[in-house]
């Protein structure tokens, strides 16, 4: 078995299993913690607050928009860009089709893929540079934040290096980093990709129940 077959085969299966099971385990764990029962009479709907809390966080409030512009542009650029790359890159669709799903969908043309990659890379670099440049961000960031950022960056960079599809070693490097990323994800702050709606919803539900208009 070649190294490429190993990282795309058994190691990928293992990494994907760890990713799914550990992420579920953490999500269920968070939900099972529950919260202290609020015995005050409700002045509004917690469920509506949960939804509104999630939606409202997508747009910054006026006074914060300018101050957090780098975060805002970088955050949206990176996350949306990465989503599009993962699910609409032609090689990713082929991989998902052949190994997991058994069906495919239209892929981005090459120029759009390159443009999206540029946006996603710009966003990620902006976010990390902000993390080390802003005194407050620097103070509250720890090893996990930096490892998560760099691991994601390396996954993207190795994928970009392998774009020509001319060398198995480049594809194998990319897939090895993807496997490591999948295993690391559920045990790190990368989990915010799944938990963000819970934390936003929690705040929204609390305010919603108190009748505060979000």
């Amino acid at each position: 078995m070649s190294f490429l077959n190993f990282v795309e085969g058994p190691l990928f299966t293992f990494a994907a299993a760890v990713f799914v099971l550990a992420a579920l385990w953490r999500l269920i764990g968070i939900i099972r913690i529950g919260r202290t029962k609020d015995i005050s009479p409700p002045k509004g709907s917690a469920a509506v607050g949960f939804i509104k809390g999630n939606l409202r966080h997508f747009i910054p409030r006026g006074i914060f928009a300018k101050r957090t512009m780098v975060h805002l542009v970088g955050g949206y650029g990176f996350h949306l860009g990465l989503f599009v790359l993962v699910f609409f890159g032609v090689y990713h669709i082929d991989f998902l089709n052949e190994r997991i799903l058994g069906f495919s969908w239209p892929a981005l043309p090459r120029w759009a893929f390159l443009l999206t990659s540029a946006i996603a890379f710009s966003g990620l670099i902006m976010l990390w540079v902000r993390r080390i440049s802003d005194p407050v961000m620097r103070l509250i960031s720890d090893k996990d934040d930096h490892i998560g950022s760099w691991l994601t960056f390396l996954v993207m960079l190795s994928g970009c290096f392998a774009l020509e599809q001319a060398h198995d070693s480049l594809r194998a490097t990319h897939m090895l980093l993807v496997d490591i990323w999948l295993i690391y994800f559920p045990f790190s702050r990368l989990m915010h990709g799944f938990t963000f709606f819970l934390s936003r919803g929690q705040s929204g539900a609390t305010y919603g129940r108190k009748g505060i208009d979000l």
């Binding site: 070649s2 540029a118 710009s122 670099i125 540079v129 970009c160 599809q165 060398h167 070693s169 480049l170």
Partner: protein, 330 residues
């Protein structure tokens, strides 16, 4: 790149294939021409080739003229001049800086740090700077591999290994190219204010920036910093335009623009890399206290008085030469 090299080396040799978008030119050709040797001599053939119209990108010239000679001239310039000598420029700069450091040592803050700081760069300016720095390093490394890998890497680590690195570098370089354009615009917007040349810069030039002793006055940016800024902007525009032409070759209708673009792109980029090494030297080990401005956004007051006295007076309203007074003193 190091990580990539570590993984790539063991399996590079047995895993090479044509690029995914490669075209097999033999497809559809069943029989060769009946008169394969032709009726004219080699000399005549090459004379016809050289008479080709240089405006034609491909072999579509009339009267059997299918080749241009500018390609050969371009190849000679690229192989015999650019690849042979240009790569030495950053090495020479590093050597000169090493000698300068050994002789002169780091420029210390006269009187040491005061312990008081003043803000110099906003968060967004620092992010713009480091964003450009990151993209510049990625493009610089990948660009040097593309340009010099054949003469620097291949002889020592092998053609296969160089092939893997070059393929990766080419993809990375093409992808980060557009990001550089964005970084350049952002950098320009954030730093253009204060970077226009002024009369006070003449004194800086006459005193050689104070690198060999003596005090030089300057505002927020001195002549060296302003020159570096404009080099980045103008050089950046040059390598952006030439890079875009190379990325999208159909934008031009003359192959000579493509040839010129590769030459100018290499000259501009290696030139910027060489000067960037000097910029990094002064910003880190060459001058005490400089790095603080881009890491923390603040600089020590004594550093500001020494290197940017006019700017210090402008932002604090205090004299840069007056002795420090203690306002809280009883």
């Amino acid at each position: 790149m190091l990580m990539l090299a570590a993984f790539a080396a063991p399996i590079a040799a047995q895993s090479v294939r044509p690029p995914g978008n490669a075209v097999n030119l033999d497809d559809g050709i069943e029989d060769g021409p009946s008169n394969a040797l032709g009726d004219i001599s080699d000399t005549e053939i090459w004379d016809n080739f050289r008479g080709g119209n240089p405006r034609e990108l491909f072999a579509a010239a009339p009267e059997g003229q299918v080749m241009t000679t500018t390609g050969q001239q371009w190849r000679v310039v690229r192989e015999k001049l650019i690849r042979k000598y240009l790569g030495w420029l950053p090495v020479i700069v590093i050597g000169l800086l090493a000698v300068f450091y050994l002789i002169r040592g780091p420029m210390k803050i006269t009187g040491g740090r005061s312990g008081k700081t003043i803000p110099r760069f906003t968060l967004s300016a620092r992010v713009a700077h480091w964003f450009m720095a990151g993209v510049f390093i990625i493009l610089g490394l990948t660009g040097l591999i593309i340009l010099l890998g054949r003469v620097v890497i291949a002889p020592y680590l092998g053609l296969e290994f160089n092939s893997v690195l070059a393929s990766a570098a080419m993809q990375g370089h093409n992808l980060f190219g557009p990001v550089f354009v964005f970084a350049l615009i952002w950098l320009f917007i954030k730093f253009v204010r204060g970077n226009f040349f002024q009369w006070v810069d003449l004194k800086w030039i006459f005193k050689l920036g104070g690198f060999f002793g003596g005090h030089v006055s300057s505002r927020q940016f001195n002549f060296g910093e302003k020159s570096w800024f404009w080099m980045v902007i103008l050089g950046g525009i040059l390598i952006s335009v030439t890079g875009i032409i190379m990325l999208f070759p159909t934008l031009v209708d003359d192959v000579r623009w493509l040839q010129l673009s590769t030459i100018l792109h290499a000259l501009g980029a290696v030139g910027l890399i060489a000067v960037a090494i000097g910029h990094i030297y002064v910003g880190t080990i060459g001058m005490e206290g400089s790095i603080d401005s881009m890491l923390k956004g603040e600089v020590d007051e004594n550093w500001a008085k020494e290197h940017h006295d006019l700017w210090y007076e402008e932002v604090t309203g205090k004299s840069a030469t007056a002795p420090e007074t203690t306002e809280d003193a009883p």
